[in-house]
Symmetry: C2
Subunit: 346 residues, 2 copies
Amino acid sequence: STIALLPGDGIGPEVCVQARALIDAVATRFNHDFAIEEALIGGAAIDAHADPLPPATVAVCERADAVLLGAVGGPKWSDPNARVRPEQGLLKLRATLGVFANLRPVKPHPVAAKYSPLKPKLLNGVDLLFVRELTGGVYFGEKRREGDVAFDACRYSVQEVERVTRKAALLARGRSGKITHVDKANVLETSRLWRSTVTRVLRDEFPDIALEHVLVDAMAMHLLTKPAEFDVILTENLFGDILTDEASVLGGSMGLLPSASLGDGKAGLYEPIHGSAPDIAGRGIANPYATLLSVALLLRHSLGLDREAVAVEAAVSDALDARVLTRDLTRRNAVSTAEAGAWVVR
Amino acid sequence: STIALLPGDGIGPEVCVQARALIDAVATRFNHDFAIEEALIGGAAIDAHADPLPPATVAVCERADAVLLGAVGGPKWSDPNARVRPEQGLLKLRATLGVFANLRPVKPHPVAAKYSPLKPKLLNGVDLLFVRELTGGVYFGEKRREGDVAFDACRYSVQEVERVTRKAALLARGRSGKITHVDKANVLETSRLWRSTVTRVLRDEFPDIALEHVLVDAMAMHLLTKPAEFDVILTENLFGDILTDEASVLGGSMGLLPSASLGDGKAGLYEPIHGSAPDIAGRGIANPYATLLSVALLLRHSLGLDREAVAVEAAVSDALDARVLTRDLTRRNAVSTAEAGAWVVR
Ligand SMILES: CC(C)[C@H](C(=O)O)[C@@H](O)C(=O)O
Ligand SMILES: CC(C)[C@H](C(=O)O)[C@@H](O)C(=O)O
């Protein structure tokens, strides 16, 4: 199989070095042949080609079975009024690959959970799977200025909601069989379309799945007051962006959360949910686990290698148990990015 | 002065009974003459007049010096596809009164903070003032369906951003002199207009105020990992809705958080940030403190009665110190809505 590797900016390259070593180790250990093709994205691609997603990168991704991405962005390219910005590369890649379902699991590991701002008792039994719609909504609607006025259009079609609902429902079947759909149906027309479509798809095609609707403002609170009561959480693009960053605190550190973005056919896209963390970039102290766990998701969802995925997840969990922790998780005896990566590889 | 009282739905009427008693007590104690005029809004107004904001209610509010609102909404009127919905009354009232700046202070009281899901250490020194833009953005943009597609337009003008920024800056001057502006400028055009406008207004008119910009997803996390580092938080309508509900957990209970919505001239609008809580409505167990604290904000911001406001705030704080707590805050020896209200009045 072929894996496209897009290190990007900030700590992206550092954590991707560890991911590459892990992929090589999995190949050796389980007797696979993985070809890794690296390409530029984000600020690195702007510097080299004045384009955050150069055609050569698209070509590499389109012929790959899966794409692994580090992170994009940084102060060097952060003027929001610049014509080209690193994030455009990421958004265009998501659209190009058609990865409409972004899976973000949040399951606190006991060692890391100690670093959560939440009281430990609340974290017992937390095991969430966010399914965030990733290629629609206000991210991709028309944006414009008219004199002194700015506009962003949020747009959703029934078909866009149907396909991500089906993905969420299939995933819910393998878990507790329950979906919490989050919207703002008391204000937004798109939310009303979401609400009626999700309700219909589940009633007609997945009558075995239990469904509840929760308003996004209430959910921002419930995620903190009763996180163990939820399982699969289905929502639109912008709400998913906000709620998953919020929920990252349940796991103790952003540095632990992987994500998988899936479509129909083509390559899946795998990325840690943390950003490029320019403040710590280049110092060899970033937490590589979110990226290594993204490799596990890649093995499982794009290459169909579940045994290999489980082995990687177990290795990261063992590393946490053994307190092989980077600086985001401990003040004493912190290991470097390379040490943490090497431990998991071994 | 004249105060319009709109009890609304669910627990709204119950907590407003206590607010009325408090207003009467303040009048007696400080020798004022307050006229209270009650009117219908939300579901109650739909039932009576098939209109969530009847013209008679608008008339009462427009001739008042301030408007105090309980809450709107409930399962009886909750079909999101219904033609008239309770929330429409609230949104129309906000627009009619032109209350573009929604102030939501969050300052945990030690007794209540014990009930926060956050570790106590993190709450030390937390004293936030959210300034949420309330009459623009996606709440008031065009909404439509075109066949199988739904649209919501988010719209902001430079002038809308300027006026709420000035309000926030004046408030920041009376506090730590620092504003955190929250947006999603890496994706939204309206956020880019916000970012440049806020930056310019502060630079040109309030050079004494320190300003930082934070992305909304990062802020959803930082509010939990380092809440004490923020002071005035300025943001657009939808982000403010989500972040203030999230931040309510810092105070231990939604039942403690008041809000003030101010415009230029006309009456200010005061409401607890909690909803109509239909699950506990009519049982006399709702927490009235958020509404009583909203009365304090009303006395201060619309009637210019700061001494009276301070007295009300001190009474609520004393009630918490004395552990006069409703069911949301304690399992043992909980008092009723009426007992809590009476304690504060005394
Ligand atoms: C970088 C940014 C455009 C992106 C998003 O908002 O989707 C990021 O926050 C994420 O969640 O992957
Ligand atoms: C009831 C609803 C329309 C309202 C809003 O979203 O503004 C509420 O959530 C609030 O925060 O006051």
